[in-house]
Point group: C2
Chain length 392, copies 2
């Protein structure tokens, strides 16, 4: 059979993280491995009401085929929310997608030829690596520092014939790192200088619980760039509703074609319920609630790490998002640690899958959004003790 | 900008049909152009109830991320429905997809290298041509006769190094043609003989309103084949829920990887509501209702065509599905007819986009699912008179 598979499938692998999640399904395990929002914060009752109203008011049309571009009212709400943040985005430049994951797929369809150089952060978002890999690009990685990418490396990569740069400038998955204002501007200037396509993935941008909100890199770009958003982290991921914003109509039209070929359009019902929810609820107040809760969870995690992790393990201290990144001394393996930690009933994601060059062996990702404060305290104590034993 | 697009985008075009649908939005136009189910038959109230029950009973978990493979309960129901039709399909071999359109995309990702020979029916389903085109195959077409593909042409195509065959053996879109039992067996034998991958797209199979139900070609295949199903035509398309069935685990696993890279998973909410609907309603009775209604609509269309179309226009007489196919004398253009018909306030889809070789100029597709009997009678009279005038 395997002789029939397309060549591209040789380089694409099942998500390692999804495999790990199966191991961590044991309810006794305190898991920092997943990347899930806290379901206690899902607006279940408001969505129930929204859904009743949709069925009562628009009925059959919520169940019919709809346009590839997406619900006009939903796109208008997305546009207004950007306006509040000072970003002028016309609804006609917004394309609703089946989660923001789909943006990576259709971007790759429209832009990536085999062998094209795609610049990503090191470590980088696994879902993007997976989606792009299907189209067989060459990945070029740039170190992520505490305030964003290393600019010399970024410029060198751009100079060396890169096609595009994919980045998560706000509270990155996996590292939790955010770009400083200076680096945002510097990145935009380099993108313009070398005329590099830019995909700014921003699922976590609204989840800032300390520090000051910063403009998207997109807002500083003059040339081709795509800004990706999602309702997964501010409302609920089960709808699979994301969106992209793009400046040029020519690019928008090509992305629509690719989306049409992929799944015709995003669920009409899901879009209708989400739109109704947004029309009749205060999403900003809801996001405040998430921010407040995740902020406390992150605080407990950082404090407990300070208390229980050995000093030679360093961590990022994210100002938002859902993840924190830990680095152990060189030469030790987070995979080996994982096997021991599972026996101690605590889980995380080893960092290596986030590196396309098989480095990062000594790193790990910790999720703080999906556990309550008590679990975080207990889990980090367990993990800290396990690491101490492991590093002896 | 255009220098940045991937080479593949040169061969992929925006759906011509979707463009046509914009022209036909005028409410005075009686349109047989679309491919929509009749929204009067959507189970709005049952879906409303199902959705209330989902929010009340499983709440947050219906809004969370879920598995790429799809809801276990939903897959089990799909499996049981196949069992009733005599097809033994284990739930673990079913992958839930974002509409059956997505199957075409992930199939192409997993199997199609540039230049691979993909055999399709002539005329062929436009959505498949669009989805496959992204992966730059070479299309090889086989004439569709009244009882299925021309077997000599099919064998010649298989002999000539084809990679796969994509077909819609039940009430094909666009032609309305169904394969006879003999041709189903013969096609399966040829697929086995030449070890050709097979994708059997079956969105309309349950919509038979006359004649006898026939087994899927899939049920006669021993080698690699993928059977595609959808809730779009038997429940509602707005959920975007389709599924595929495959015999080999190795293929299943690769398709899961490709699906994961495409949109992580299909909407959890949409799957939960559909599952609940299926658990608490008699879908078979509902499908009977659709069949009965579409059967009557098709009957009116065929009768009115007999009455108003000139004798030199031939049509298929489908035993199910949503479409009927008309062929005018050689040398006339359905595109020219379209421009005149629009002025007479009646619309259809010119057949040419369904041919990859730019033939089929004299053909047209007529949809009978989306108009009531009175509209069909009036629209066909208008169209018949227009054609008579046009062919003078």
């Amino acid at each position: 059979m395997s002789d029939k598979f397309a060549r591209r499938m040789g380089t694409v692998h099942r998500s390692f993280i999804r495999e790990i999640l199966k191991v961590t399904a044991d309810p006794e395990i305190i898991s920092f491995a997943g990347g899930l929002p806290n379901p206690e914060l899902f607006p279940v009752s408001a969505m129930d009401t929204a859904s009743r109203e949709v069925f009562a008011e628009i009925g059959a049309s919520a169940l019919q085929y709809s346009t590839t571009e997406g619900d006009v009212g939903l796109r208008s709400i997305i546009s207004k929310r950007y306006a509040k943040r000072g970003l002028d985005v016309d609804p006609s430049s917004i394309l609703v997608t089946t989660g923001s994951q789909q943006i990576l797929d259709i971007f790759a369809k429209v832009f990536l030829d085999k062998g094209d150089k795609v610049v990503i952060e090191r470590p980088g978002y696994l879902g993007a690596i997976q989606a792009f890999s299907i189209f067989e690009p060459e990945f070029v990685t740039v170190s992520l520092e505490d305030d964003g990418p290393n600019l010399e490396e970024l410029e060198a990569a751009f100079k060396d014939g890169a096609k595009c740069f994919y980045a998560v400038p706000n509270f990155q998955n996996p590292s939790g790192v955010s770009y400083s204002l200076e680096k945002r501007k510097a990145v935009a200037a380099l993108l313009d200088k070398y005329d590099i396509l830019f995909v700014e993935d921003d699922p976590y941008g609204e989840l800032r619980f300390m520090g000051e909100d910063l403009p998207n890199v997109y807002s500083f770009c003059n040339k081709s760039s795509i800004l990706c958003g999602s309702f997964s982290k501010i409302a609920a991921p089960g709808f699979r509703i994301g969106w992209l914003v793009v400046k040029e109509k020519e690019i928008y039209d090509k992305l629509v074609i690719a989306k049409q070929a992929s799944d015709l359009h995003t669920s009409t019902v899901a879009q209708a319920i989400m739109r109704r929810y947004l029309e009749t609820n205060d999403i900003e107040a809801h996001v405040d609630l998430i921010r407040e809760r995740y902020g406390r969870q992150r605080q407990v995690m950082v404090e407990m790490i300070a208390k229980y992790f050995p000093a030679e393990v360093t961590i990022t201290e994210p100002e938002g998002g859902m993840f924190l990144w830990a680095t152990m001394p060189e030469g030790v393996s987070a995979m080996d640690l994982f096997d021991i930690a599972i026996k101690e009933k605590v889980a995380f994601v080893p960092g290596r899958p986030f590196y396309v060059d098989d480095s990062g062996e000594n790193t790990l990702r910790l999720n703080f959004s999906n556990s309550d404060e008590a679990k975080i305290a207990e889990g980090i104590e367990r993990l800290g003790n396990t690491i101490k034993e492991f590093l002896k």
